[in-house]
Symmetry: C2
Subunit: 306 residues, 2 copies
């Protein structure tokens, strides 16, 4: 099952974290922008080239110490289809370097449409007599508001092609409670109910480390809920956003892990991408700064969970 591969990468690197690749142009060193614009103009092609070069530098600096990357679709779509081409190049490059790729698209729909998203991001599509992987990530984030009709279409590709999904359960943002914390008439919250569904949706895909192919997104910014959900969802691997820039600490994410120090991967995006700014280093050292921050984060989190 898919999260076995992720878990093995985490064990190999001794690092339960994922680097978010959310490349706004503001984050990208000027020398990369200048070179990309010089070659392709101040155009979507130029922007997309800068996104990819920035990401490739990060991947080169991280692939031996960080198990996974999580490109966020929005930052690629913002630069049009050319940006989406940079997403594909990023996925390919990270996989070539042996990283596990989680595409953060929070996709959701039903039936054949959800199958199309599954095909797009995880599977392969037939074009005449050819078969092509449109984006070919290892896992995809999804939104379960539409119920089983929105999740079932993903389970086939998870089983057959060893892929995984992360369903939004309790998100890291301040207003996540507006709906997710509301109690249903049985006294359980919406997020607990979504968590139960994840356990159910994943039950036929539990791998050798005890986790299914249906993971959950649970924010670092709500450590109490994170603890409760870890207990309530023993077969569900967690993707934990909200560490760092959003305020979640290493102590806060401890509860995401099981007694074997497994069960979760903690995301950091801006703190890694923009480490060179925070460290006051020359922009040409952005990749080395990112590596230093990734090591710091790894060691800090490990100090709480080992």
């Amino acid at each position: 099952m898919s999260f076995d591969r992720l878990i093995e990468k985490i064990r190999l690197t001794g690092n339960p974290t994922v680097a978010g690749l959310d490349p706004k142009l503001d984050f990208i060193p000027k020398y990369i922008l200048d070179a990309s614009f010089a070659e392709y103009g101040e155009t979507p092609d130029g922007a997309a080239e800068a996104l990819f070069r920035f990401n490739a530098g990060l991947i080169d600096a991280l692939y031996d110490i960080v198990p996974a990357v999580k490109p966020q679709c929005a930052y690629y779509e913002m630069y049009g289809w050319q940006g989406v081409r940079a997403l594909k190049r990023t996925v390919d490059y990270a996989k070539q370097k042996g990283m596990f790729v989680i595409t953060d698209g929070k996709r959701n729909d039903i039936g054949t449409t959800m199958e199309a998203y599954s095909t797009a991001h995880l599977g392969t599509v037939a074009i005449g007599s050819e078969t092509v992987a449109a984006f070919g990530a290892d896992a995809l984030t999804v939104n379960g508001y539409l119920g089983t009709d929105g999740i079932a279409p993903l389970l086939g590709v998870c089983k057959e092609q060893d892929k995984g999904i992360f369903v939004l359960v309790k998100t890291s943002n301040p207003s996540s409670g507006e709906l997710q914390d509301r109690k249903l008439d049985d006294g359980r919250s919406v997020y607990e109910t979504m968590g139960e569904k994840c356990e159910k949706w994943g039950e036929d895909t539990v791998g050798k480390y005890g986790y299914s192919a249906v993971g959950a997104v649970v924010g670092a910014t709500y450590p109490e809920q994170l603890n409760l959900l870890r207990q309530a969802m023993p077969h569900t691997f967690f993707l934990v956003p909200g560490y760092g820039a959003q305020g979640g600490s290493a102590a806060d994410v401890r509860g995401a892990f099981d007694e074997n120090s497994l069960g979760a991967v903690i995301n950091s995006s801006r703190a890694i991408m923009c480490a060179y700014k925070k460290q006051g280093r020359d922009e040409k050292e952005y990749a080395a700064a990112a590596r230093a921050e990734a090591i710091r984060m790894r060691d800090e989190i490990n100090s709480y969970i080992k």
Copy 2:
């Protein structure tokens, strides 16, 4: 406000419907596929060319009688960035023909990431000294599971650039009730609660026909809920999927409309795209068949709401 433009197009055409553009290769006439593959090979470029040619034929046949199109992102992403380029070409072509374009992406995220989606699909992005519309639709479907943090980032572009959003409230699929129909501890359902939020999110953007820039997706397959929500959400314009292939009838969607026969746009995708198959016509007549079906649907729905 955005839905004023849609409402004016609906009045002009006398047609409260939207044609869904969900172009699977299976739906596309062989002569279009053959020509596209001959030119670009059995590749994502060939597939994407076929998607666009198919859509362009539909748009040519519909633009004077149907006010809007709704391309569904999944079917474009399935063919990679080349497919996403076909989405952009489709949006541009439909707008050039005067149609209102609703991109059906069900996007969702928070803060700067949701701003990036807003920028991508509705707004414009700065690239160096240039400003570019990445996709440039008139409206976008979104998922509100993350609360206000996932919706507020869209409201600026709705106000400033006269755009709109449709928030998933009660979806048309069989399992939509798993979460959406559950009662909260105040006795109201999740979908009613989401509906209330839509009214709240849209309150500063009510246009001259009484509808805000924050619309809602409410399925044709649950006519009772559709009626209740129409009463409870007087300022929220509805996008209604589920007519036709999913089982919703013209009688079922009547409740989506207000006393002025406004307030909703009814979607049909497959019945229009594949009308040539159902009508047993030669595939080269797919566009004429689509037009005949769009006229039939218009007249059927109008017979219930006028």
